[in-house]
């Protein structure tokens, strides 16, 4: 952070051994980036009244740094967003690090700074942490696990089970940015794109949506598996079908182009700064306007509606005017051959 010289050297086994080396590492890298004293084994928090939302997520990503973010911003925003999708205001995070022997300390410092910045931007504190070191070859540079706590706003009762026939389905912006940005930088996929990850904290956007549409049934962030996975989860949990309109789903030209090239479908590509919301039809326009008014929701759109369907299918009207089932993805999405 503030002008501290970038540490030189690499992670060594002594950094995880519990001695002075570990304490020094934590002070130099993590406490300087996150704030706090690191003197206690636990954080104690005064929580405002209300129901508590709690979530945890592990972050393993290759490459660690990608256009628009890094594993540190993901680790903060990912957990912030899981809390926010429950209608909660995120308050505090914990962070656990598994470091591989030989990992550059300068890279670790960069990741820690990203986490500190992302946390401050999201208005949450990183209040507790843990560091372990594994031998070279037994990790992939760095793995991060974060957990978060937040307080659910009064009156909000969001659940994947709440969708009702007639409800509107909204997305807060373009689909597939994060997944394509990461794939474009991954070894083995040698192509250039200007797409950057959409990695962002969504609690403020979610709050604006709930203010405008208090009857909101549920929110989800379409990360792994993309929009298709989230819509199928909602259809299963709520025992409904969802009709989706391909022409209304925002996808950036760069993402569309990369997906064409690789034979991928943007509906299945990951996002890290978008939300999907299901709203009663009567609140759909107000909700859409609230999303549009927020910097993270300018490209928001109503992309479909919930309907009765004993099969619980997500069915899409295609650009061409035909129909297709948008199913769960089977395994990983792999590029097609021809």
């Amino acid at each position: 952070m503030s002008g501290a010289p970038a540490p030189s050297g690499v992670v060594e086994m002594r950094h995880g051994a519990g001695g002075r080396d570990m304490t020094d590492l934590i002070a130099a890298l993590f406490l300087s980036a996150f704030g706090g004293t690191g003197q206690e084994d636990q954080a104690t928090l005064d929580l405002p009244p209300g129901r508590v939302a709690l979530s945890t997520d592990g972050f393993v990503i290759s490459p660690l740094f990608f256009p628009g973010g890094d594993i540190g911003t993901l680790a903060v925003n990912g957990t912030v967003n899981d809390i926010a999708m429950g209608g909660a205001r995120p308050l505090a995070l914990t962070a656990g690090f598994v470091l591989e022997e030989g990992f550059a300390l300068a890279d670790l410092a960069r990741i820690a700074r990203s986490m500190g910045q992302a946390a401050r931007a999201a208005g949450v504190r990183i209040v507790a942490g843990d560091t372990k070191v594994v031998e070279r070859g037994k990790g992939d540079g760095v793995f991060i696990t974060t957990a978060g706590i937040g307080v659910v706003r009064d009156g909000a009762c969001l659940s994947a089970c709440n969708a009702r026939p007639g409800d509107a389905v909204l997305v807060s912006g373009s689909m597939g940015d994060h997944g394509v940005a990461v794939m474009a930088t991954r070894a083995g996929f040698d192509f250039e794109t200007e797409v950057v990850s959409d990695c962002a904290a969504l609690h403020d956007l979610a709050g604006a949506l709930l203010d405008a549409a208090p009857g909101c049934r549920l929110m989800r962030d379409p990360t792994r598996g993309g929009l298709a996975a989230v819509l199928n989860e909602i259809a299963q949990a709520s025992r409904v079908g969802i009709a989706l309109h391909e022409a209304r789903v925002p996808v950036r030209p760069g993402v569309r182009g990369a997906c064409e090239l690789l034979g991928l479908d943007p509906l299945y590509v990951a996002n890290e700064g978008k939300l999907v919301a299901v709203l009663p039809a009567a609140e759909a326009e107000a909700g859409l306007a609230a999303l549009h008014a927020h910097p993270l929701g300018r490209e928001a759109a109503i992309v479909g509606e919930v309907r009765d369907d004993p099969d619980r299918f997500v069915e899409m009207e295609t650009l061409l005017g035909g129909r297709r089932i948008v199913d769960w993805i089977a395994g990983e999405q792999l590029p097609r051959i021809c």
Binding site: G188, F189, D190, E315, L319, L320, G321, I325, L334, P335
Partner: protein, 379 residues
């Protein structure tokens, strides 16, 4: 995206659909086989069938390279990948094709094999240069489209004198497979498939041209329309086939004129001829043994031939007998006719080859078309 969106325009599609509906005779049926997986994919992804009258039925052919590769060839690759010195490079959707006992290249990787997904054969060449101490094998599959790049890579490997690069060659030929479908005695006698016309391959034809299909039109009296892979290409080509059938013509027509000429890409064909020669026969999953339907490396490139280099022998593991892939690949059955479809065999747990790739007819049926036709469309 410029240049592609125009070929997906709903208004134009409605216009073509109206023409097809107006010109197709409701009293007869038009059974049209799209040979290529790329067409199958487009038809399902864009819901093309919904825009066609009931009299026009699309039959999904064997043009999916992943689907037609026999298990024995895949097991050669898996065995090779398990050798500690080998890095096996493969295209993406090959990785999860099941061999015997549900083994896949992905599972072999999980068990310790060094299997890399590559976007092109160039990536495999680079790996060979970066790892001189390892044997880098490119698992080459695909039709005439992916063959020229493999030829380029082999010539480069020769020029570079790469001692640790080889190719497990499974490149197959489209015209031989179409002939087999039309000629196979099983089809003629037992499970007679009436195919009224073919949508000809797009990318394959960019390489080989439209001329090789003239034989089918003449010999079998079947019209062929070479079609681009965009949904409007497919629809316009269907209209062209309907017109040929109505008029009793059996000609090769080219809808995909923006990319395909009569003689194809001469440079690519010369390159392929320089590096590869015909195999006397090759096994296709679903079609069985098809004469002169695949390529192998010429003697000049023998040292890059993984089959010779590692002394590989193709085994002949049995297929699941209840699996209807052979009939489906020949157009003699629909995916929903198979007893395993959607029950034991799903995209998550594929048993047959047609369920494996997104381009396979069963996977496409499962993913995009499970709901019976005639139910309510999205409002």
């Amino acid at each position: 995206m410029k240049y592609v969106e125009e070929f997906r325009d709903a208004g134009l599609a409605r216009g073509v659909a109206a023409r097809i509906a107006a010109e197709a005779d409701p009293g007869r049926s038009y059974r049209l086989m799209e040979f290529c997986g790329g067409h199958t994919h487009a038809i399902f992804r864009y819901g093309v069938q919904d825009l066609l009258p009931d009299s026009v039925r699309m039959i999904h052919g064997p043009g999916c390279p992943v689907c037609v590769l026999p298990i024995g060839r895949l097991e050669m690759a898996i065995d090779l990948a398990r050798r500690p010195e080998v890095i096996l490079c493969s295209y993406g959707d090959m990785l999860r094709v099941p061999a015997s006992r549900k083994m896949t290249l992905l599972r072999a990787r999980a068990e310790g094999a060094d299997v890399r997904m590559v976007g092109s054969v160039d990536d495999a060449l680079r790996l060979a240069q970066a790892h001189p101490d390892r044997e880098v094998v490119f698992f080459a599959i695909g039709f005439e489209t992916t063959t020229p790049p493999t030829a380029v890579a082999l010539r480069r490997a020769e020029a570079l004198g790469l001692a640790n690069f080889s190719v497990l060659c499974n490149h197959v030929l489209t015209p031989a497979a179409i002939t087999n479908i039309l000629e196979a005695p099983a089809i003629r006698q037992m499970e007679r498939v009436e195919i009224d016309g073919f949508l000809g391959p797009a990318h394959v034809s960019v390489v080989i041209g439209s001329q090789p299909y003239e034989f089918f039109a003449e010999e079998f009296g079947k019209p062929v329309v070479i079609a681009g892979f965009e949904p409007l290409d497919v629809m316009q080509s269907i209209l062209m086939l309907v017109r040929q059938i109505n008029e009793g013509r059996a000609e090769v027509e080219n809808q995909y004129t923006r990319a395909v000429g009569r003689h194809g890409n001469a440079a690519a064909k010369a390159l392929v001829a320089e590096v590869f020669e015909l195999r006397r026969s090759f096994e296709w999953r679903g079609l069985g043994t098809v004469p002169y339907s695949a390529l192998r490396l010429r003697a000049r490139f023998a040292r890059f031939d993984a089959e010779a280099r590692f002394g590989l022998v193709q085994s002949d593991p049995p297929e699941n007998r209840a699996c209807a892939c052979p009939q489906i690949l020949r157009g003699a059955a629909r995916p929903t006719d198979c007893a395993l479809f959607g029950r034991q065999c799903t995209p998550q747990t594929p048993l047959g080859s047609c369920m494996v790739s997104d381009e396979g007819a069963c996977a496409a049926y499962y993913r995009y078309g499970r709901r019976a036709r005639g139910t309510e469309a999205p409002a």
